[in-house]
Symmetry: C2
């Protein structure tokens, strides 16, 4: 199991409720790909969302996000953590 950070752009002005709803759509289907989204952070001014996830592959993370309606190609595999 690997760790991933993905980055979404364009979330300017998104609220906490909207982020929770979007994150919930990931959680509802993540098991299909063996992925788990641990946390998500939002900068509503810059419109950036960062999601920390575990899963088998980068592509598995991308497929869940795409099915949940917020695709991103910016997914980084993180073998090192301090």
């Amino acid at each position: 199991m690997a760790t991933f950070m993905d980055v979404h752009s364009g979330f300017v002005g998104v609220t906490a409720d909207q982020l929770a709803e979007a994150h919930g759509r990931d959680l509802a289907i993540e098991e299909d790909e063996g992925v788990h989204f641990e946390r998500a952070w939002l900068d509503p001014v810059a419109g950036k969302v960062f999601c920390l996830a575990t899963g088998p592959t980068r592509e598995a993370v991308m497929r869940i996000h795409a099915r949940a309606g917020h695709p991103t190609a910016e997914v980084y595999e993180l073998p090192v953590e301090v």
Copy 2:
């Protein structure tokens, strides 16, 4: 106290020891600005580092990173977390 994610580029091929050493340079001086770097994650293939921090301002986070030798302008304030 706010939460921040900063992103560094150009860390291609960096090792776990090198990341720990760089992170240690932040930790050694972070109190000067009331900042705390909680975690850092590395993708050595893409050369990206993500640091999760708390602190008073975005500028305070940037000053610590600059003094530690790894400046970045890419620091996002994260008022929303799920």
